[in-house]
Symmetry: C2
Subunit: 362 residues, 2 copies
């Protein structure tokens, strides 16, 4: 009960900091005495911080409360096909240190990436100088309910990797959780971009994944592996896919397929590539088919296109929307928009999930 009330007080501070003890009592229905005692405990635990008392108001001066910017912090780690990154956020979710390192892992042993990650983590922790209490690792693969990487088609040597136990010793014993990159990016939209409570976030890259948020919570499916949008079939007789199927969305709208179709070496060269328009049109059509399936099945009202898709422009996004509307049953009720978060959304959400968990169960 006391734990529940501690979380209740923290929730009020998160909602409208700085806030007085009296306001918290008013909003939670707890007595002022109870609130004072809970606040005392949260101050001792380093979760809250007291601002200077406001003078001038009648009566005893009140010291407003806010989250402690020097309190428990979260470490976020991102392992991608071509880079690793790390960041530290404070209790408010603000990024206090961030670092990124180009590093190709496609056919390398996970140990290499983990050593680099550990190095980056040391650097950002030193820079932030905050008490980091846990880490969440974003990986571009399917993560089972037990935290093991079930499949990472673009990082084949990571299949079966149990990142937590491998990484914890390299991070001085820090508890580590592993999560899917698209899932974290979906939470980033919700947390940092005022995203709607029901939405599908599409992470475009070499692979294409989706993070599904329903009722303000991540939807992970019975086995924790929901959101495999990249392997929804868009052309039953299409090209073979790494997953063993054929004609999957990734084979038309994944980064490599897109560049190949356009005749471009990389994303920067795409606008000037000889077949850019046709390739972008093909990707939009394929996304329209796959997204229509997803919207028909899940009835999500908003689709957010992120990763490489966020760089393809508003006109292309409108094209995806039009293609989707040709196929979806409730066409008047579905919006498609580009992610406005920087590519680091998943990384920041990884770090923020650590502190959010701490605030939920202090």
């Amino acid at each position: 009960m006391r734990r529940h009330n501690l979380a209740l007080v923290l929730r009020e501070v998160v909602r409208a900091e700085p806030v007085s003890r009296a306001a918290i009592a008013g909003r939670t229905g707890l007595t002022r005495g109870t609130v004072s005692s809970l606040v005392e405990e949260l101050l001792d635990a380093g979760l809250l911080d007291e601002l200077a008392a406001e003078r001038g108001a009648p009566g005893r001066p009140a010291s407003p409360l806010q989250l402690n910017r020097s309190g428990p912090a979260g470490l976020g780690i991102e392992i991608e096909v071509d880079h690793v990154a790390a960041c530290v956020v404070d209790l408010t979710g603000a990024v206090r240190a961030i670092a990124r390192l180009a590093s190709d892992h496609r056919d390398r042993d996970p140990a290499l990436a983990l050593a680099r990650v550990a190095e980056l983590a040391r650097a950002v922790r030193a820079e932030a100088a905050l008490p980091v209490v846990g880490a969440v690792v974003a990986v571009p693969g399917v993560v089972g309910a037990d935290g093991v990487v079930v499949r990472a088609p673009n990082l084949p040597r990571w299949s079966g990797a149990d990142v937590g136990p491998l990484l914890t010793p390299l991070l001085g014993g820090l508890p580590v959780t592993t999560a899917n990159e698209a899932d974290l990016a979906a939470l980033a939209e919700l947390w940092f971009a005022d995203g709607p409570p029901d939405a599908m976030y599409v992470s475009g890259g070499v692979g294409v994944g989706a993070g599904i948020v329903l009722g303000g919570r991540l939807f992970r499916g019975a086995g924790g592996r929901a959101g495999e949008l990249g392997h929804v079939v868009v052309d039953a007789d299409g090209p073979a896919c790494r997953c063993g199927g054929r004609g999957c969305l990734e084979q038309t709208a994944g980064l490599e397929a897109l560049l190949r179709a356009a005749g471009a070496a990389d994303l920067d060269a795409l606008p000037d590539a000889p077949r850019a328009a046709a390739a972008l049109d093909g990707a939009a059509a394929a996304l329209g088919v796959a997204l229509a399936g997803a919207v028909n099945l899940l009835d999500v009202p908003v689709v957010v296109l992120g990763g490489i898709y966020s760089r393809l422009g508003a006109a292309w996004c409108d094209d995806v929307h039009a293609r989707l509307c040709e196929r979806v049953v409730h066409r008047s009720d579905v919006a498609v928009r580009l992610s406005t978060l920087a590519p680091g959304g998943a990384l920041r959400a990884a770090a923020a999930s650590v502190v959010r968990a701490r605030l939920r169960s202090p």
Copy 2:
């Protein structure tokens, strides 16, 4: 609190009737005095029934409790393209009266079907002679969160129909709720066939719909319109569909498409039709594509094929499973089976949802 405890007592009776007051106290942690007083209230409300006391045991004879077979009952109603049906279930969910009437509604005004439904309802209520407290209507269309039929492609004149207010006056003022047929059939699998807590039920007919159960609860999506499996695209350039799209699953695996492809007049004639094998194979392949998309997105471990599909045989079901496995990422973890419930599953679940709601909030 008392309401909560009343529900708690009922839950224990449902779990293991007949059951003694002492056993209920033991399992709920409530005192024997509290249980006795709650049971008294439930006996008065007609929800519980006392069996004859068991003699022979030492001490005061105990009168075991069970759900009252003459207590509040539920009316289920089914409106289909080619028939209407009604049934009454008692508090245990047992069917106490059932009736079905062939009646084509495809291009008819809803008023006709509702008049027939009201007639059937009168007949089953008279036969069951139980105090019916509410009705749930299963319709083969999408039902919005407000209970209005949003779309019913095969009953075009039902779009926008608010069945509750239309039907209540015809049923003597009985409260009426409307629900999607596939959703109710999915609950029927869960409730009456020991179905798994995470599954997708596919209702094959003129239209193809899915009822999705996640964590033992119906998943309805943000707008209550999830599960439009029939309009998942299986052939991007395929035939135009009533929904406005093209190449939807229904256009290959819906009843009419299947019969047309086989050259059969109806389902009974299918086995002897000139092109039966090719048509069934095409339907299995199309279902494989659409179901793979659904399983990739939702990560449901079990697919139950019902409606007309339950009549197509085990070998055909295996074929669907094989086609699905060609396309799904986590192929080792997905099972496909035919529904073992009679076609009346949705009807019975409709009636049962009335009494289940009463038992949850007595």
